[in-house]
Symmetry: C2
Subunit: 782 residues, 2 copies
């Protein structure tokens, strides 16, 4: 059972990381501008790192507690090795490292983008997109590297041929689940904590600065202004990065689990399974696809460039699209050949109710197309419901003319309506990819969608970098034309941000599905029957948890913002000369408050996310836990779309007033009553789209991952007994005949399948028919 | 198979209706006050009846279309008789009649309550509560009468002993499902249409009247003011009445279906089932409980009275509570004896995974206690989250000081958090009552909760009557003390309204569960396994539909309100002397607009509610439809609680300012900025709590009912083939021995269960063991 194929993704991950280093060094070599620019950028960078460092301290405590809990699991469940702890720690570390790289490069790129924009738009795009590329490749490279190294290590350790391949591989994958859990835990901190951080700083800075003190946004006299800018990086860069890192790893892991399961089914049917990949082609496929996606993304990034200094948004957007589509098309082509190469021509797969079917490997390829289509379409839907100039946003604008209440109602209704197309899309994708290739098809569809994560994140992280670049230009009082250039990039960045959010939701939804399917195979339950009352009860509870989670996240923003308001008020009162610009505000204090509040406030929702599945699992059993997962996924997806799109639509409705909108035949601008109503809507939408909405992704995935990790304890499917029994399946056949001495002779054939091999034993007995019957009964009951 | 027990509920329903008539005549005999009072009251009454008449016209079209659809079902499904059409029409008619009675008496009682309040508070309570009692008894009496008469008729027609009892009774219950579907269809019109009506009129009247023209609320110069008052009756009286009528009927029906199923299980196990109730005790039990609940409610209403003219809110509330608790306690006692009397001492019941269990009938009684506890506790939770002076509302008040945005966020968060306790309660109730007595226990729990519907509705309808009485007092310029007395009643009415909404949600949730369980038995599927991809996809779609439905309902309010605004503006401009009080505004036109808009706007959501399950069922199959139902129920319950409680909390946060609230140590009153922010919140909350929130109840129940009605087509379980095969179950047993002539003799025993009776056949054959084996195989395959 040897295969060198695992070195393929390892090499591709290393190529990705090497390319990342080259890009990062290139960015750092760029001119960082004048002193003032560097001062501002330095403050943002320090604040961002301050948050990260504070986060790491809390993380350390969390990792220790979680490691102990995993140790307990490893102690009680023979198939779960203590190495899961190491995998967990590395998962957390790699994810944190990726976030750290992303934050550092983002805070380096912003000022260099500003500086580049002083002379050239193409160069400004190049710098900002390079920053994004570093982030994207860091996430994808570390994810694939970590996963494949641990997989390699664990197969060396556990795949020793003492038990059945399936059970040994299950040990490998259970330990690997620790890596995924570690990664997702960091995502919880980064996304939820980051979400609370960014909005607390934002609201706090605005309430005292803009409203009470009457100073403009990003004014250096406002003590919270650095915290506000840090927040953009914390939420949009590190949060999104950790979210996708988690999805990426979890999707690949779930696909591997399901790959192992279909290998088992084929082995059972044919008395063993072999291929050119050490008998694990279906397990290796998802991680190889991920590796290939990195290379495709690198090639894609090379095509993101514009040549003219007079380019507008459309050209920049086209450049990004070219790169993105190229990466996707290359991935599709690669998927075709990989699937043809790595999977058996026909896969023997079990479908519920329909029994076993032979699935051609081309079907798995079609499933990857579905996955890529979901990624594309969800972005399209998101853009429709939240885009400037589109009907839904225009409708909110119109409703702003009759006040804040009608604006709010219109925004809520828009968010609610937007769930329709996206949910239908998911439902269709589940159905379609399952029909093509079972749950393995669903998981591979998700893997394919996530394959170009590096490219997606590059485009995504480019937005906040350009946004910050604009901020630096403003604060450093650079000429108008510089701001004009960064504005073009920023505007494109706003669109890509909305698209990125859609992609993140889709990835979370598909990941959850894949994990859900993997969970069922891990516990060994037959399915999840919601016609059982306890299972139905768990579905109800699961449907409620995302709502509570959202409520807590929203409330946390309020509380943290209030603390910020008090601190800013205090500084304005106590620091002499602060308003005149002679006294230096204490930025660090505000950063500290936001940081502490964010981390403190995320403990309760975090605990709910992690402990609820554990509780449900142990109190109500594995089937109820599966139902709970489904409830969280369904409700979480709906609430994620609702909150993200409502928030996005409110935001753009407010922005519409900047260029002026026509209401009842009159042009209406900033400062009008309608605009004020739109500002109220945007304020409501802020925690929706930046805190509670995106945190749904984490909740959904974390719930399913926790379920997957505790599955072996609940199911007993891979418990010690199962290991000892080693999949014994026995068939007893009796042929009778009347022999000499008037006695009936019987040949009893006992066929047992042990470790995928069929062993036959024949026993010849004679006696009265009654005696024979008795004997046969005894053998069967053995 | 004869039983006279069915006459019990018929008689009790007739007693209820007779008592209703007495009460109604007593109310009408009361003094209706002076001319001005009568004029106002007449206008409200005419407007309300105008809405009803317009509704009936639309209804007629709907009933014809639905009847044709049902006819098609009856044509293709042999077990569904065309009489389902008649049952459907009568279900619709009875529900409409109950609503009509309620609206008439409510619009008669309001002015008489005002008149009574001129002299005596106890008398005012008596009049208003009598009005409520008429409504409550009308609903309960007609529901029980309709159900039991049709049940009687259908058993006479279909229970003829030609097929098995189970299959014939299934025909009875399938036809009876038509009655329930008819009732719920009216609820759709009344609740959703009524919800749109009342808010369109409210918002329209306020926007032009209060804001633009600067005239006070309820000012007779405002053309929309009558529409506004009509709306209160349409939404709170007719809407709530139809909602509970639907729940009541559906719950009893579902319990009967499940009762039939447990009879079948017992018959299969024991070769038949007999009891003192024609072999249908478990089927009759729920309807007898409903009948007894009417009598208990009547007795309860007799104890709702106060003696002192100086009584305050607390005394009035205590009087209502006394009556309510008395009715509940009487029902509990009656349930105990009924269950002991009508159910076999031990019920043979199948539990998923656990196989058959013997359930003592006392367990069913404990399930009824769970049902009653759910009703009580949900009201308690609702009051906590929406009550004046409670922590959640105070928190919203505090958040109003920083503007409308923070008020909105706090309100949304409150509504979201409120789902926690209620959903856990439902989950616990499902689990508990199922553990006690299977899904029959769940259904009986729901039936017990609904048994005191008459009393619940009496308390519920009393609120809007008292509210209207206050309005009449204000508009007729009666002395302060009159308004003071009606205010006491109105204030109590606000509390009971919140409690009533909680009860309505709980009833919808439990009804949906019972229907869901009944659905599974009707289709004959094994269960609903969400680990199948299509079933999971349907769960996602189901989770999304309530959100879309809510969005459409909210949008409809906006659109209809805009039309109203335009009409009021037009009248102000075109009718001379209207503002001076010399020109008479065209009230009817506004009533007409609200009516037409409400009915037009509810077609799309209504169509979604009815057609989606049909589509899912036919395209994706019965198991997916079951999953869709579960998705709608889970998501619908969460969104119902969220929207109702957020709306209620915003409303009371606004009301808190009337008495003044302390914010940051300062007393703040009406007219402050904080109050304005609270008004914005209340405006957002209005469609939440009066339109989209309550309509969730209907959506949930209607989805499950439509599923139940089309179940026979989907499942094929009661199809022609099944009727012919008549539940044949065969067991083959072989005993071999060596007989004379050295041949092996074998006795083959074939046991078949036909129509619940076990038939045994023995076949003696001889031959070589091979020949015997061959023969046995042939018999088994037959």
């Amino acid at each position: 059972m040897e295969s060198n194929t695992i070195f393929l993704p390892i090499i591709m991950a290393i190529i990705g990381l090497a390319f990342m280093l080259v890009k990062a060094m290139w960015v750092k070599k760029q001119d960082a501008g004048n002193e003032k620019m560097q001062f501002i950028s330095k403050n943002i960078k320090e604040g961002a790192l301050a948050f990260l460092n504070a986060e790491y301290r809390l993380l350390l405590i969390f990792v220790i507690i979680a490691a102990i809990a995993l140790g307990v699991i490893a102690f009680f469940v023979p198939t779960t090795h203590w190495l899961i702890i190491i995998a967990f720690v590395f998962g957390a570390f790699f994810s944190a490292l990726a976030g750290n790289i992303g934050m550092r490069i983002a805070t380096e790129s912003n000022v260099r983008t500003t500086q580049a924009a002083r002379t050239s738009l193409p160069q400004a795009l190049k710098v900002s997109f390079s920053g994004g590329t570093v982030m994207g490749l860091g996430v994808a490279g570390l994810a694939v590297l970590g996963l494949s190294l641990f997989f390699f290590l664990f197969t060396k350790l556990f795949l020793i041929g003492e038990g059945s391949f399936y059970n040994e591989m299950t040990m490998v994958l259970e330990a690997l689940a620790g890596f995924s859990l570690g990664a997702e835990s960091i995502a919880l901190f980064a996304r939820v904590g980051g979400g609370i951080y960014t909005k607390a700083a934002d609201v706090g800075a605005d309430l005292v600065g803009k409203v009470e003190a009457g100073i403009p946004e990003d004014d250096p006299r406002n003590p919270a202004t650095i915290a506000d800018n840090v927040g953009d990086n914390v939420g949009d860069v590190a949060g999104m990065g950790a979210d996708l890192f988690g999805s990426y790893v979890a999707t690949v892991l779930a696909s591997m689990v399901l790959g192992n399961y279909i290998i088992k089914e084929m082995a059972d049917a044919n008395g063993g399974f072999t291929d050119a990949f050490g008998g694990m082609g279906p397990i290796l496929l998802p991680i190889v696809i991920a590796g290939v996606g990195i290379i495709a993304s690198i090639i894609g990034t090379l095509f993101v460039r514009i040549s003219s200094n007079d380019a507008r948004e459309a050209q920049v957007q086209r450049a990004l699209n070219t790169g993105n589509w190229l990466a996707i098309i290359l991935t599709v082509i690669a998927c075709y050949f990989l699937i043809r190469w790595m999977l058996p021509e026909s896969i023997h797969m079990k479908f519920f109710n329909e029994g076993y079917k032979e699935v051609a490997n081309i079907n798995v390829f079609f499933a990857t197309i579905i996955g890529l289509a979901v990624g594309g379409l969800i972005s399209f839907f998101t853009e429709y419901y939240t885009g400037l100039g589109k009907k839904p946003v225009l409708n909110i604008v119109q409703n702003s003319s009759t006040g804040a209440a009608t604006n709010i109602i219109a925004g809520l209704a828009t968010g609610m309506k937007s769930t329709f197309s996206s949910v239908l899309l998911f439902a269709g994708a589940i159905w379609g990819s399952y029909a093509l290739a079972g749950f393995y098809g669903v998981a591979i569809a998700a893997s394919a969608m996530m394959a170009t994560t590096a490219m997606q994140l590059a485009i995504d992280a480019f937005g906040p970098i350009a946004d910050n670049a604009g901020g630096v230009a403003e604060m450093s009082e650079l000429p108008e034309e510089v701001r004009g250039r960064t504005d073009i990039l920023d505007s494109v960045g706003n669109t890509t941000a909305a698209v990125g959010k859609g992609f993140a939701i889709a990835s979370a939804a598909l990941t959850a599905l894949a994990l859900f399917a993997a969970y069922v195979t891990f516990t060994g339950i037959d399915g999840i029957n919601i016609f059982k009352a306890d299972v139905l009860a768990a579905l109800f509870i699961g449907g409620m948890v995302p709502v509570i989670f959202s409520a807590l996240a929203m409330q946390s923003v309020g509380k943290a913002a209030m603390e910020m308001v008090k601190e800013v008020r205090r500084q304005f009162k106590e620091i002499p000369g602060i308003m005149e610009g002679t006294g230096k505000p204490d930025y660090g204090r505000c950063v500290d408050i936001s940081t502490k509040a964010a981390l403190r406030e995320m403990i309760l929702p975090g605990a709910i996310a992690i402990l609820s599945p554990v509780l449900i699992g142990f109190v109500m059993g594995p089937e109820a836990l599966g139902s709970y997962m489904a409830g969280v996924a369904v409700s979480g997806v709906v609430w994620a779309i609702f909150q993200n799109n409502a928030g996005g639509a409110w935001d753009n409705a407010k922005k519409s007033f900047e260029a002026g909108v026509e209401i009842d035949g009159k042009m209406t601008y900033k400062g009008s009553d309608a605009h004020k109503a739109a500002v109220t809507g945007d304020t409501v939408g802020d925690p929706f789209k930046d805190t509670s909405g995106p945190s749904m992704n984490i909740l959904i995935k974390l719930t399913c991952l926790v379920g997957l990790v505790i599955a072996p304890i609940l199911g007993g499917h891979t418990s010690e007994i199962a290991m000892l029994q080693e999949e014994i399946r026995k068939e007893v056949d009796v042929t009778m005949s009347v022999g000499e001495n008037e006695k009936t002779e019987a040949v009893i054939t006992i066929s047992e399948i042990v470790d995928g091999k069929t062993v036959k034993n024949e026993v010849l007995i004679e006696g009265t028919p009654e005696e024979i019957e008795q004997k046969v009964r005894e053998i069967k009951e053995e």
